[in-house]
Symmetry: C2
DNA sequence: CTGTTAGCGCTTTCAG
DNA sequence: CTGAAAGCGCTAACAG
């Protein structure tokens, strides 16, 4: 039953006293092969337990049916949702997924891309790390003729393919919601200033306030480095204000969780004295006793899936088409 | 800068008017090549931006430096923690990771293994799905000479390599804790009866009770199919009991979350009228207002990492060594 | 419809 | 120390 070496095309050719090429064609259902031969070939192939040696095929065809996925950290639910969906899409197209975690380290990111290139992946999906400031890998992949599609955390460049989620819509909806609940003292706990994502949030925040003629107050916008300590510092700053805000949009759910914990600890009533909305829709709000008013959904799975579909289009259409940009719009949803 | 086709060994051989074999050796720092030639070769290689064609090498060496990871669902934090660590270990060994989600579907599981086999991965790490009853893939991989290490959710067989987490210790500690807090009415919300994991929990539960001479009461053990409805049904059964339990061990954190929600809704005071401990240590308990008394940690990351290390040993030691079994012991930890 | 031949890019005997 | 030649398993012109 168990052969030392797996059977090859040659062997089944020898057995049938026909040429390897005929066998190859028969196995691939090439139209110009007689039905009888095809049958005979397949029969023997089955008997010998033949399995094509994909590595040989990859080598020959210069195609690996493999795509690389590079993202900061698999253990973040946001990204695991994305890769989960990517794998589903890839699976449907008979591609396999190789993954690499950059851990937000630009060097490691570059190294992963190198590896993927050496493995001759047919394409790459990537969400860049928080500390990535320039993009040498774009030229690297371009030079190797490997298409790359960015998603979620995308470089701010024009000539690339990207799928991302516009953060503005969600912010505007959040402010709408707050205002319609009677809030005017709305503040923003933003992320590190150097992140484009922070910039975008702040811009949207200002725009949202402007729509309601609420004056922008500098002290209502604080930043956190996203560590628990940073988060605590940020909320403390706000709570210390003489005119404490009654509503807060926070950078993401992790920040919100930390911040709400502090608030609770200080005896301030959540969803009464102070209200929260945050980006991301962490899947567990439904279990939290005083969840935020709402969450701003960024559709990680959908982004990943769409990016994968785009990538497969690029892989299949060999011509280098125009840079494509697909935008999702963040949306306010009820937590859960 | 950017060549149409990447440079090959032949080209750099031609430029230097030496033979390809020499180039190959030089590039691989073969000892028998003169230092000067080696240098010259490397210089030209760099100039031409030479990159070895891994697919050719894989083909030749019958080795892909790739391992497959098969698990039920990447979007579960438990598994994303595991794969995250696996990727780290693999990365350190210069292996890449191909992943596949079985979605708890035995057919899909088999299909993934087939694909991995065709891709000629050097080894496989696998956590089997909830519905997998027999293990045709073990023979499949065996036949192909691909080592496979199971982790966490492992087949109940002797002759395989596995890393898993013993559920008993955690259960005993949980019961210890409950008893030392004065509880004697301790119940168990268990998973589907057909799961080995459920069986193991129940066995441990009985043992724990026995240690304190607490009589086992049939009605204190209920099962859930792990859906929210099932969870609700399970806790309802317990709450309806004339002698309602004051302490509950639940199958996992998801069950606990659902169940605690119901309890709260019915106006029963968490951590007062009724106390919980559950398996898994979901990373968010710290934010929950009335978290369970404790959690039973199962070390997904550690299991994954250890399984990966074992796999690399198997890959490197070509002989087929004795089946290895590595056991972690679940442990009671404070949530968070 | 089928066979012959060549070759993908690299490594590796075996000879010098 | 280096070169020539063969071959991994498969596919794809090009001829029949």
């Amino acid at each position: 039953m168990k052969e030392g070496k797996p059977a090859t095309i040659k062997e089944i050719a020898k057995r049938l006293k026909i040429s390897p090429s005929t066998v190859s064609r028969a196995l691939n259902d090439h139209p110009s092969i007689g039905l009888v031969t095809t049958m005979r070939v397949k029969k023997v192939a089955a008997e010998l337990n033949y399995e094509p040696n994909q590595t040989a095929i990859f080598f020959k065809q210069r195609k690996t049916f493999t795509v690389g996925v590079v993202l900061p950290n698999l253990s973040e639910p946001f990204f695991s949702a994305a890769i989960s969906e990517i794998e589903n899409v890839a699976n449907g197209k008979n591609y396999t997924v190789i993954m690499g975690q950059s851990m937000d380290d630009a060097d490691r990111e570059m190294k992963i891309l190198q590896t993927l290139k050496n493995h001759r992946v047919d394409g790459v999906l990537m969400s860049i790390g928080k500390n990535t400031r320039d993009y040498p890998f774009i030229d690297l992949m371009e030079g190797a003729g490997i298409p790359i599609v960015f998603f979620d955390c995308v470089p701010d460049l024009e000539h690339i393919h990207k799928v991302y989620c516009d953060l503005e819509t969600g912010m505007l909806e959040a402010i709408d919601r707050f205002v319609s609940c009677g809030h005017h003292a709305i503040s923003l706990i933003n992320g590190p200033t150097h992140l484009p994502a922070s910039l975008e949030r702040e811009k949207a925040y200002r725009k949202g306030l402007a729509q309601y003629n609420i004056r922008y107050k500098e002290e209502y916008v604080v930043n956190t480095d996203l560590t628990p300590e940073g988060n605590e510092a940020a909320i403390s700053q706000l709570l210390a204000l003489p005119d404490r805000p009654s509503a807060v949009v926070s950078f993401n759910d992790y920040v919100a969780l930390d911040v709400m914990k502090i608030v609770r600890k200080r005896g301030i009533a959540l969803n009464q004295d102070i209200h929260f909305i945050s980006y991301a829709n962490y899947p567990l709000w439904t279990y939290i006793e005083n969840p935020p008013l709402a969450s701003i959904e960024q559709f990680p799975g959908e982004q990943g899936g769409k990016a994968a579909e785009l990538l497969f289009q690029l892989i299949e259409a060999n011509g280098r088409p125009e840079p494509t940009r697909i935008t999702f719009h963040s949306r306010l949803v009820n937590p859960g």
